[in-house]
């Protein structure tokens, strides 16, 4: 997993260099955001109820027009929660007294479209929609004894936000946004990893 992370980070850096070199005729933008995630529905009830301050979202966006852009988006979020010692039934006669820790890392890779209803105003509100795959790394520990499993699942995302250009003529902007992320996770009786996310970051035009 560590190597996969290194590869993804490396590929991302290389893509940025490559795209920067070829960006003169392409209105490409790089979107980098800090992300705070709040688990929702089944995720909150069954696995992690704590919000996660450890995450980011990034994307490469191609502008088709002033109103519509689309691109590839990916993110990373680390969720963790430790529950107080409790007694759990393992089967009809077997019980365990343990502190359970859930550790979940999600890496959604999405195709994402963004629509700006008022492109001529200084502040640019937008709505976005994305769908793709979610790489899920789930570790559950009873005390210090854990097991882990990795899966790839479906991920969809709807969001809204506001772009605030650095200057009136600037193509780069500050981004403030929120998304609802739908991520089904039908493993071991769990339902989903749905979450509400709040982002803040920058959008830089690659020239």
């Amino acid at each position: 997993m560590k190597r996969i992370k290194k590869i993804i980070v490396g590929v991302c850096v290389m893509m940025c260099f490559a795209l920067t070199a070829n960006a003169q005729k392409r209105p490409l933008k790089l979107d980098l955001n800090y992300n705070y995630s709040i688990p929702f529905s089944g995720f909150k009830n069954d696995l992690v109820s704590n919000g996660s301050p450890r995450g980011f979202k990034a994307g490469l966006i191609y502008s088709f027009s002033d109103q519509l852009s689309a691109g590839l988006s990916f993110g990373f979020q680390d969720y963790y929660q430790k529950y107080p010692r409790a007694i759990y039934n393992l089967n009809k006669t077997q019980q365990i007294s343990a502190v359970i820790s859930n550790s979940i890392q999600t890496t959604p890779v999405l195709l994402k479209a963004t629509y700006f209803p008022k492109p001529s105003t200084f502040l640019k509100p937008y709505v976005s929609l994305g769908a793709g795959a979610n790489i899920i790394d789930f570790k559950q520990y009873y005390g210090e004894f854990g097991n882990s499993q990795s899966n790839v699942g479906f991920h969809a995302q709807g969001g809204l936000g506001l772009m605030i250009p650095f200057k009136k003529t600037s193509t780069s902007a500050l981004n403030l946004g929120a998304t609802y992320d739908y991520a089904p996770y039908k493993k071991n009786g769990y339902k989903d990893l749905n979450s509400v996310n709040i982002q803040a970051g920058i959008v830089i035009e690659l020239k």
């Binding site: 560590k2 980070v9 920067t20 990373f76 006669t93 007294s97 550790s103 210090e144 854990g146 830089i204």
Partner: protein, 206 residues
């Protein structure tokens, strides 16, 4: 140029979040939180049918398939805690020669296993933790002339077994009617039985 610089700063920041800021669940546990207590029992047994018990006077140490009996402070603490909580649950302790209904034994299981580590793999990561810059040689690489090394790890657990002696002669066997296992950090620490065994025995067994 300025934008590339900004991008690289941003990407470096996100890379740090990506690779470093994941919480390690095991490092975030105290020794007490690291321990697990597992119990199982024979569902066909009614524990109210048993009135008396006897407990072994020492601890069976089971180490890599061999066993011997020993009694140290931790073993005595376990035996004393079992006596205390069995008494509180209404069982009367008798000598093992007085036909006890139940027999209780305490076991210390030590599992030592040996593994092989490849220095090549290990040093790939090790170089990242101790950058040659630290030793005053920035830009240098490490050279490791050895291929493998052997390591040994000992893992401990404590088990408690409750045996049905009342029906042994009828069944021609000694049924284990309740069993418990404690694993994790410091399970053979003398202070553990007095602080935690009450929960273990009274909430799970009786």
């Amino acid at each position: 140029m300025k934008r590339i610089f900004l991008m690289l700063i941003g990407l470096t920041g996100f890379s740090i979040i990506y690779t470093s800021c994941t919480k390690d669940p095991v490092n975030n546990l105290t020794a007490d939180e690291s321990r697990i207590y597992i119990t199982d029992h024979d569902s066909s047994v009614n524990f109210r049918d048993y009135k008396t018990y006897s407990i072994s006077d020492s601890v069976a140490v089971i180490e890599n398939g061999k066993s011997f009996h020993d009694l140290n402070d931790a073993g005595q603490a376990y035996i004393d805690a079992v006596k205390k909580h069995m008494g509180q649950a209404g069982y009367q302790m008798v000598s093992r020669n007085d036909n006890p209904d139940l027999g209780v034994d305490v076991n210390h299981i030590i599992n030592t296993f040996t593994g092989v580590i490849s220095y090549g793999d290990y040093w790939d990561d090790y170089g990242g933790y101790w950058d040659p810059y630290y030793w005053g040689y920035p830009g240098y690489g490490y050279y490791i002339p050895y291929a493998y090394s052997v390591y040994q790890v000992s893992e401990g657990a404590v088990s408690l077994d409750i045996l049905d002696l009342k029906n042994a002669s009828t069944d021609h066997k000694i049924n284990v009617v309740w069993t418990g296992l404690i694993r994790g950090s410091g399970v053979f620490n003398a202070s553990l039985p007095t602080t935690r065994l009450k929960l273990y025995l009274t909430s799970l067994l009786i």
